[in-house]
């Protein structure tokens, strides 16, 4: 009974995803207004040859700040969990 329900959910979700992929814009001709401005004005405003680095650190710098916070939190969590496990084994 549970297997039948799981197969039904899987086939519904995959059909939904493939229908959404077939109805998108034709591959190779995306709508782009913001990116045309960034490609044309990136060398005058940020003095940079690499447009991807200028987008990552200048036009969208707050996303990089959030991602540095996620990396810091993950490293702190891993080190703290291993220290607690070692101390619990010493006490047993």
């Amino acid at each position: 009974m549970r297997q039948v329900f799981a197969w039904f959910v899987l086939i519904t979700l995959v059909a939904f995803l493939i229908t959404g992929a077939l109805l998108m814009h034709p591959f190779g001709y995306p709508p782009s207004d913001m990116d045309d401005y960034m490609i044309a004005n990136s060398q005058a405003e940020t003095a940079n040859n690499n447009v991807v680095a200028a987008v990552l650190f200048d036009y969208r710098g707050l996303d990089t700040l959030g991602e540095a916070t996620v990396l810091f939190t993950a490293v702190t969590g891993v080190l703290m969990l291993f220290r607690a496990l070692k101390r619990k084994e010493n006490k047993l």
Binding site: A47, N49, A68
Partner: protein, 153 residues
């Protein structure tokens, strides 16, 4: 600990991997690359040393308290550069036009110049330090836990 051939080759190869990783970090504003990619390359070199020598040997030279200091200083450099342009707005590029790192390249395709970019090369350096120390600390903690069971403090 693997055989003697693997240990000798790892000793020679770690120097070239470190130089390659630092080249990718420092030229992040001229060629493809940047802080995240260069930090991952250097962390993979440290993982190669851990796999060749065993975690008990590496623990004598590379402690986790030193790695924590390096990672925190990388994060402080990144936030300090963001706060230094607070005169106009947060995250303002205040080094464009000054002779330190500002030089405006000509429009269109050109051979690149390292002394351009404003505040972006310093931010690349900070993020590279942070990713390098963070990924090495995660792999070192997992290797120490599952084999030797000896962590200090």
């Amino acid at each position: 600990m693997l055989s003697k051939i693997v240990r000798t080759i790892s000793n020679q190869l770690i120097l070239f991997i470190l130089i390659f990783g630092l080249y990718i970090i420092m030229h992040g504003h001229v060629t493809p690359g940047g802080g995240f990619q260069g930090g991952a390359v250097v962390a993979s070199g440290v993982v190669m040393l851990i796999a060749a020598f065993g975690s008990s040997e590496i623990k004598k030279s590379l402690r986790e308290s030193h790695l924590s200091v390096v990672e925190s200083s990388g994060a402080l450099i990144f936030i300090g550069m963001a706060f230094a342009g607070m005169g106009t707005i947060f995250f303002y590029n205040f080094l464009v036009g000054t002779p330190v790192f500002g030089g405006i390249p000509p429009t269109g395709p050109n051979p690149g110049n390292v002394w351009t970019g404003g505040v972006i090369p310093l931010m690349n350096f900070g993020v590279g330090l942070k990713v390098m120390a963070g990924l090495s600390a995660i792999v070192l903690a997992m290797a120490l836990f599952s084999s030797g069971e000896e962590m200090e403090e």
